[in-house]
């Protein structure tokens, strides 16, 4: 067998790549774009846009924030999940929070805008806010009543062992009240901004507290999704919002509940995924059927 010389091999490689680029990189995607113009497929290929009076207001597949210019929830609308995409539901910056399961200690600075909240404190703050907005119990395990992570740094005489010398509630600063007054007989201090109690040798100890095992605020209401663009909430999260939305729209809660049911999809084929409520479609239906005063 005659071995091809190595420049010849690279020439063949280049020619192969160019052929594939023309076929797979140009003809293939353009043929699919053309297929996407077929009736029935075109609306989906274009992003499943939803329109009001002929004006696009969003996509059935992409979630939105239902907040005012200051970021506060607009109470006549069902609220979406928290989002880590840009400032919230920004499709030009789809993203998750990527914070881990033991992200429990906040980094507190003297200027609150410089502080970064741990995932636990974010969860606690969201739970408290949703509880206040929807008139349900916002308490959760491992959360303080003022809505941060209930986490202590416990200092012991010999590092990991020995008697307790000092206890700090690491996510609470003045003027808060420590979520427990004392821990195994030692009074609990508030955290000072700028201090790193873990580096100083404190053992990080989340405290469960006496919150109910099944919090009234559902899990999806306090967590950010993977895409930051989740168009859905769980039926449970929709259920706790019904009373507020009905009140804001002077409507019968039963009518609102019926609209929620109409916009709830079950598991595909009975076993794929989870029951979910499409928030934008539900809110559009509310505006059509129960316009706010």
């Amino acid at each position: 067998m005659r071995l091809p010389a190595w420049p010849a091999q690279h020439l063949a490689a280049l020619r192969a790549l160019l052929v594939f680029t023309a076929l797979l990189g140009v003809a293939y995607p353009l043929a699919l774009v053309a297929a996407g113009r077929l009736p029935g497929l075109d609306a989906k290929a274009d992003g499943s846009l939803l329109t009001v009076d002929g004006r696009a207001v969003g996509s059935a597949l992409i979630g939105q924030s239902f907040t005012d210019a200051d970021g506060n929830p607009v109470p006549r609308y069902f609220q979406s999940r928290p989002s880590a995409a840009g400032d919230g539901y920004d499709p030009t910056a789809s993203a998750a929070s990527n914070l881990g399961p033991e992200s429990v200690v906040d980094t507190l600075a003297a200027d609150p805008r410089q502080s970064t909240r741990s995932l636990l404190s974010q969860v606690c703050a969201r739970s408290r806010a949703v509880g206040l907005l929807d008139g349900v119990d916002g308490r959760r395990p491992y959360c303080t009543p003022d809505g941060v992570g209930a986490v202590l740094a416990v200092f012991r005489a010999d590092g990991l062992t020995g008697r307790i010398t000092r206890v700090v509630s690491v996510n609470q600063t003045a003027p808060a009240t420590p979520f427990v007054a004392s821990w195994q007989g030692v009074p609990v201090e508030l955290a000072q901004p700028g201090e790193d109690y873990r580096a100083a040798g404190g053992l990080v100890t989340p405290v469960r507290g006496d919150a109910p095992e099944h919090p009234a605020v559902p899990a999806d209401a306090v967590t950010a999704s993977g895409s930051g663009l989740d168009p859905h909430i769980s039926p449970a999260y929709a259920a706790i919002q019904v009373a507020r939305v009905a009140r804001e729209r002077d409507a019968d809660p039963a009518v609102v509940r019926r609209l929620v049911a109409e916009h709830t999809t079950g598991r595909a084929l009975g076993f794929m995924g989870a029951p979910a409520v499409n928030v934008l479609e539900l809110n559009l239906a509310l505006d059509r059927n129960l316009p706010a005063r």
């Binding site: 063949a12 699919l32 290929a45 992003g47 995409a85 873990r198 899990a219 993977g226 895409s227 794929m272």
Partner: protein
Amino acid sequence: MTTGTAGVVFVASLVVALVVAYRPFGDHLYRSVTGTRRSRLERGVFRLVGVNPAAEQSWGVYARSVLAFSAVSVLFLYALQRWQNHLWLSLGFDPVVPHGAWNTAVSFVTNTNWQWYAGESTMGHLVQMAGLAVQNFVSAAVGIAVAVALIRGFARSRTGEVGNFWVDLVRIVLRVLLPVAVLGALVLMLGGVVQNLSAGTDVTTLTGGAQSLPGGPVAGQEVIKELGTNGGGFYNANSAHPFENPTAWTNWVELFLILLIPFSLPRVLGRMVGQQRQGYAVVAVMAVLALGSIALTTGFELAGQGAVPQAVGAALEGKEVRFDVSDSATFGAVTTLTSTGAVNSFHDSYTALGGMMTLGNMMLGEVAPGGVGAGLYGLLVLAVITVFVAGLMVGRTPEYLGKKIGTREITFASLYFLVTPALVLIGTATAFATGNDVTALNTGPHGLTEVLYAFTSASNNNGSAFAGITVNTAWWNTALGLCMLLGRFLPIVFVLALAGSLARQAPVPASGGTLPTHRPLFVGMVVGVTVILVALTYLPALALGPLAEGL
């Protein structure tokens, strides 16, 4: 139905679908790589490429062809990114920075699809479809081609030839990948995956806010991203993004596409060596490891241990409502078991032990079932090591598929196995030694896991991430690019050398001293060897990261 039950049925339905597909699709793969009749399109392509499809190559020439094609691909992809602002459909994006363009070029050519960038704000449509998506096809075909060359090594005897790379490449693309991709893309479009050339649609939301909905030729890229076990998302959120994976059933379809080729390739092995049961034995090893891992990953996620999941009441951070915890965890396990690296939920926010499973799946060496082609050749190398170990333990003659495993063979197999652990552990240590670990988002053991995960993902050509870590620095892009390159092509060279060495041998007739390699005993031994090798290699690193966090 509870989440757990639905999750079990979900996995079971995938298993059934793969079992049904195994024979017909495996046979189609077999005919595609062994057939000698050429379609008019194929003849045209061979003429344009300038190769003689009837000529066979020695392993060395085959390897040099793979390397030449990959080198040209890296250069082309690099140039396309650096000059995207001068080309069409750039959406006004700047040229990609040099270290980023290098990383991405290597990433897509090596079938890794590690992404340091956010697709929606970095890559124009032309780079995505004419650069990245093309590599999604051809890098997958390269993996399958190398696996087929290794099978030829076992199947042939007294020859120096292992096939013709160009013929394998072209036929795999045209007969296997492209038809399934077209069909799959249309199915995904029915589910709502977008396919257009729009730069985006600006809308005013219900409460008066502005939202810019992205466009793009997504469906065509999404399907090959899964089918070719590539994993590079069109958008930053990958398969969690509703435009890439809009519904629970598209999620099922994407998982099926990921698993289809890796689980059907053993059929090709069985047919080419003339013993179907050898193919079944290999599938059995893959399935045992995969099902065990999926069960553990999903179990850990549903159990939801850890302070934050306990406070939330479920491990739902980084997961979409439409996929729920179990289908997200299944995707997480499958994507890491197959070297795909697409994600529909974010592994960084998994429970400590659930996240460890995704890391451990990659550390298995991507063999259960692994990436397209790469999984099969990885598993065959482990089978070679297993017969060697068995030979030492019980005095059987080390043979596999009728070929003697001698010094030369075991040397190549050992070198193959050593490449990725060396890259992972040296890379991780170097990151800490040089202070580049500070870009991790999380602190403590979880921060270490982020660094370890990055090197494991790059070196095993997976491409998923504990995505909290910031890797768009020159150091990270260069280091991970090197890991991807060496982690792909060193093993390929060793595999092809092994193929050449096996092809030259005369077949050994089975004797009383031959260990049967199609029985449950052998399946169990390969599983054992795989798990033990991985545990011995990585346990210290895992103990400092996810185990410290989760226990």
